[in-house]
Symmetry: C2
Subunit: 191 residues, 2 copies
């Protein structure tokens, strides 16, 4: 069985922001095209578990009044304020590495971190991300919330694929962990 | 005759840095491959004028003892400290927009801004960049000097092309000004 992987699958501006100030995501409209879902339906069909930060959760609740992933996916909201679970919705205030290790130790589909920047930062710092799929919008927004915050360890990555859409969106897909395994194999082979 | 354009042509890490702390560029080694120049020779043949920031100039001088572009290109070092010119090497402490406008008003090949981040920031703020060619290295470096600093106006861009190299480098090429002209044409057409 394929091991469960943790994916970051996210859109950002050419200058590296996932939101403009005040959580303004309107720049994502530059990618709108009827019938183009940028592979989301296919991607999400490989996922059964979602992790998001509390601020992202609050934003979604404020925007649409519910947390859509929780309909059919175990959803973990990373928060400093414990709350009882509601069906598939779990409020988790423990250690993120413990959660991810525990999820990966069980059989299942892949795990999707749907933001925000703080949770992504922690996942990257703790080296818990297996693959990143980033959609770069054909726009510079100038300021806002950066996808990559300062202060992570250096990390080689492995380019899996790229795709340019006629909307000007560029998709890049990287593996973070196969590279590490490759290096380990190489190190063993060189002994 | 084709109008002179100002190009940014630069390498950065996946997480958006052009240098690690202390101007460490060693992460660019991940792209090294014998015989692969990433199109640089072809690009530089279209250039006859170079603009760089004073810190970048100092770094080059410290590393290799000369400023190679000045051999055959008019080179403008953007500095707050005026100095007399030395052959092709000009130390410019005036307004950057005036310099670029003046250069573009004269016939010639294209203009290349070879860094650093501060000059790029000013050029982007003043909307003086025509095209950007960015090479994303297959590595996250975690911290350092960002290609894009906070605090620029929002700017739509036009994707020209992408290319993935077997080294894991991804090249993206954007036009910043054709888009604007396109919008203007559209606005006129819609009247």
């Amino acid at each position: 069985m394929e091991p469960r992987k943790l994916f970051i699958y996210i859109a950002c501006s050419l200058d590296g922001y996932i939101a403009k100030p005040n959580d303004d995501l309107s720049f994502l409209d530059v990618a709108s095209k009827e019938g183009e879902d940028y592979g989301y339906a296919e991607f999400i069909s490989t996922i059964d578990t979602v992790i998001v930060g509390r601020k992202t959760y609050d934003w979604v609740m404020k925007q649409i009044g519910e947390f859509p992933h929780a309909k059919d996916k175990e959803s973990f909201i990373i928060t400093r304020t414990p709350r009882p679970s509601e069906g598939n919705l779990h409020f988790y205030s423990g250690d993120l590495k413990e959660l991810v290790d525990q999820l990966k130790s069980k059989p299942g589909k892949h795990i999707f971190c749907d933001g925000g920047a703080e949770v992504i930062q922690t996942l990257l710092k703790e080296d818990l991300v297996d693959e990143m799929i980033i959609f770069t919008m054909p726009i510079m927004v100038g300021e806002g919330t950066r996808l990559f915050k300062d202060g992570r360890p250096e990390r080689r990555v492995n380019l899996v694929s790229t795709k340019a859409y006629d909307t000007g969106v560029v998709r890049v897909h990287y593996e973070l962990r196969r590279e590490a395994r490759g290096e380990r194999r190489k190190a063993i082979g060189e002994r």
